[in-house]
Symmetry: C2
DNA sequence: GTGAACTATCTAACCAGTTAGTTATAAACT
DNA sequence: AGTTTATAACTAACTGGTTAGATAGTTCAC
């Protein structure tokens, strides 16, 4: 039987509505009343469950961040694989990129959880460091920064450039994998055979 | 002698103040009263000179965009050069990246001027297309998207990752140039000698 | 019947945009 | 050269709608 009063379910509805609202309008542009309406919940419940607008935003970002890190696992030994997986996730969840952009603009302070997650990733990369292109030229963090930038390059393309880029997603993913493969496998052996694969490994 | 009443100067002061305010807080988060105060101008003048808040934002973005395209010229035959020049500009003008991020989030519609600028760039790239790595794999737009993403990778790094990336700017620029060089010159010949140069060609 | 879930209504602050008026400047006139 | 006139530059104060958050009360589940 479906409960008419279920705090947990209401909480979840609010969080979902807030994710959409913040993704669309950011922290300053979001309207608490709109969130309440979309969640079919009373506004006061938002304050009861989440404190205030800023706290709610933080929770939304944190949840989005957690889901991302849970669904796309970091594979330091195969960065092209990681890059394409990240690309796929971002393509499937367009709000994630927007939410992250808002977060970086409006709440630049990183949480401890976020910092810890990056430390884990960096540790993993450091362990297999030698495999990256020009050894010692790149710090693990640099490598990660590039991989993230490339994975988000197509999703983050400005509107005005969009008509000129590869339209279909398969192609885009192949390019992401190819670029990262070239950079990691680097200079001489089989440069871009990675470009051919990828079409069959979507989640 | 300094004019006490100079509409052009006042206009310029307002535009400068608005650039800072919008860069810091975005369209929704910016406060017209704060802009007026920072510009030492009366609020009504802002409306007299620029219409409304949205129009003022558009003017600010447009001006920033024009300045960028004026100061860093696109060189389709040497994308590594272009990438490092873009990197330098973004490093020197941190507000530009923020402003562009706000624009993409809050005003996604591209202006005609912007679209035209991209068409020019794409045309230039098309003319020298064969020089890019795996021929025909990449559309010119894809190439540009990657170059832009790489050039902005370090400046756009999230706070939490920042402790793990190369700290000094020389190094970062060298990496930008190196990555693009590897991708353009591509797979086999002298892979990353481009990494060594760059420290002496700042504007 | 008791506590948790929920609601309708209120409020104080905020903020984009307006208005009605004041002052500086420079050209026109005598 | 001094006075008037026109206008552009500027200002202080206000308005009306909006919005985050609070409060006091109602309803449901167990």
């Amino acid at each position: 039987m479906v409960a008419t009063r279920d705090a947990e379910a209401t909480r979840a509805r609010i969080l979902a509505a807030a994710t959409a609202e913040f993704g669309a309008h950011g922290l300053a542009g979001a309207r608490v009343d709109r969130i309440a309406a979309a969640a079919a919940a009373n506004k006061a419940l938002i304050y009861a469950y989440f404190g205030n607008k800023d706290d709610l935003f933080d929770r939304v970002v944190e949840a989005s961040f957690e889901q991302l890190h849970a669904e796309v696992t970091f594979t330091p030994h195969d960065l092209a694989e990681y890059g394409t997986a990240l690309f796929d996730y971002l393509a499937d969840h367009p709000d994630v990129l927007r939410l992250d952009a808002w977060r970086r603009l409006e709440r630049p302070v990183a949480t401890d959880a976020e910092r810890a997650a990056y430390v884990d990733i960096i540790d993993g990369l450091t362990a297999v460091r030698s495999s990256f292109g020009s050894n010692d030229q790149f710090l693990p963090g640099d490598v990660l920064a590039i991989v993230i930038a490339v994975a988000g390059a197509w999703a983050g393309t400005p509107d005005a450039l969009r008509p000129h880029i590869s339209a279909d997603r398969e192609r885009q993913r192949a390019l992401v994998g190819g670029v990262i493969a070239v950079l990691t496998k680097s200079q001489h052996h089989q440069p871009h055979e990675h470009i051919e694969r990828g079409a069959d490994e979507r989640r």
